[in-house]
């Protein structure tokens, strides 16, 4: 019997040129205001002089396996789906903003117009209809690889279990579903 899918993403920062197409695609897909971001591109330096690199690091909800936002939510509005996606039930969100503060990746935002917290959903409606998340299909340099980490033959599973990738903020015990390649 095959396991049900668990979605994960590889982000290869060595290929990112900082064009922000993924940010624009995300805004378009999720109908966001320009001040809100589910997905952003940070610039980070790694290493110490003279052996250092400067990379664009796309940053978004890491769909953690141990998500602090789900633990702190007082009403159960934030929850973890069996397919790995961390989701929010807007009907139960009271807008206390505790989850926003609990997230080390600052992945959550709130829109004062509707008053509930929202964030990246791995474009789960697109994924369930057989397509890729908007940021993945838009990326012109192939930075992002999306797939089922429970399928051992998938590229995502192979890379996630290789030594090439690491997870950001792993000291915080969040266990993200996004694996980064940073050299």
């Amino acid at each position: 019997m095959t396991k049900s899918p668990k979605w994960a993403m590889i982000i290869d920062t060595t290929k990112c040129v900082g064009c922000f197409a993924c940010v624009a695609a995300c805004h378009n897909q999720n109908d966001l205001e320009l001040t809100e971001h589910f997905n952003r591109v940070e610039e980070q330096e790694f290493g110490t002089f003279p052996n250092f690199s400067r990379r664009f690091v796309p940053m978004q909800c890491q769909h953690c396996d141990n998500p602090p936002c789900v633990g702190v939510c007082p009403t159960g509005a934030s929850y973890k789906r069996t397919d790995g996606v961390v989701a929010i039930d807007a009907q139960r969100c009271i807008g206390c903003k505790y989850c926003i503060l609990s997230c080390p990746y600052n992945a959550r935002t709130i829109n004062r117009a509707h008053g509930y917290v929202h964030k990246c959903s791995f474009c789960i409606s697109l994924v369930e209809s057989g397509s890729m998340p908007a940021c993945v299909s838009t990326c012109p340099t192939g930075v992002r690889i999306f797939g089922d980490i429970n399928d051992p033959g998938s590229e995502v599973a192979k890379l996630a279990h290789s030594k090439k990738t690491s997870r950001i903020g792993k000291d915080l015990n969040t266990m993200p579903s996004i694996y980064y390649i940073i050299e």
Partner: protein, 295 residues
């Protein structure tokens, strides 16, 4: 980005006063109910009210205040906020019962039922301790916020809460002049407790500063935010100097010199309360700005 406004600061402050007033009232009553009656009564009269104002602001600070009732149809032990919502609701009920128990007239008709009185007092002690403790745990359990994510924060806020409760009792007693005729025993008791709490608060502050400064990069940069600019001025002058050092010296002076002075007490109690508010406002505001270092 600031997500929790000064409403949350005021809530933490008012919840601290309420819980602290109840803790001071119950413990002084336990030590000697007759000798310290005016402390016991005033603590019971104060306890229910500040937290009610705080709870109203807590609801206003929600983005969807009309849905606050969901907090009371859910219980999630993993969420300190969910546990806290239940604690403050139960505290409000028990603090009103305790308030009525201490009124001159026995409205609850409980004077002959010793067991019921003991139950109210025991529940009050557990709940007031829980309120004073949870407000710090609410912050300290977030790994993403390095200024909050330290075990000393709940200790700091707990001591400060009891101190604020005592200061509120002392202030209202001075303003109303209740039981002023034979106040010397209770005054001496309050001065002693005041000194001990300020002593503990100054120790916790030192542990906080040294601990944060000599810890991880995240903690050190979080402390940097507290030490600089507007927060630095508020922390050093508003909290450390005016809120802890001056009241501590004043408390020691009163005990050693055996001096009595109502104005003196009034000013030191006001300073301690102001320090308690400033401490919370710096922790809440600077704590949201401080980020965990991820790379």
């Amino acid at each position: 980005m600031i997500y929790w406004s000064h409403y949350i600061t005021f809530y933490l402050f008012s919840a601290g006063i309420s819980a602290g007033a109840m803790i001071v009232s119950l413990t002084s009553g336990f030590i000697n109910r007759n000798k310290y009656e005016r402390i016991v009564r005033m603590g019971a009269y104060i306890a229910p009210f500040p937290i009610m104002a705080g709870m109203a602001l807590l609801i206003v600070d929600l983005e969807r205040p009309q849905m606050f009732w969901l907090l009371l149809t859910t219980f999630k032990y993993s969420s300190i906020m969910s546990v806290g919502a239940w604690i403050i609701s139960l505290f409000s009920i028990v603090s009103i019962l305790y308030f009525m128990l201490n009124l001159p007239k026995d409205y609850l008709r409980l004077s002959s039922m010793a067991r019921a009185i003991t139950m109210i007092k025991s529940a009050g002690f557990v709940l007031s301790t829980s309120v004073a403790l949870y407000t710090g745990l609410l912050l300290s359990t977030l790994a993403a916020r390095p200024l909050w994510n330290t075990p000393i924060i709940p200790v700091l806020l707990f001591i400060s809460a009891v101190l604020d409760g005592l200061a509120a009792i002392s202030l209202v007693l001075l303003l109303t002049q209740i039981g002023r005729k034979d106040a010397s025993a209770s005054d001496k008791f309050m001065h002693t407790v005041d000194f001990m709490l300020l002593y503990l608060l100054s120790l916790a502050t030192v542990v906080f500063l040294v601990g944060m400064g000599r810890s991880t990069q995240s903690a050190a940069s979080a402390l940097g935010i507290v030490m600089s600019g507007r927060f630095g001025a508020l922390f050093w002058f508003g909290f450390v100097a005016a809120g802890v050092a001056i009241p501590l010296i004043a408390a020691a002076y009163r005990l050693l010199m055996k001096r009595q002075g109502q104005w003196f007490d009034f000013i030191t109690a006001s300073l301690a309360l102001m320090g308690g508010y400033i401490l919370r406002s710096v922790i809440i505001e600077a704590g949201q700005t401080a980020q965990a270092v991820l790379y």
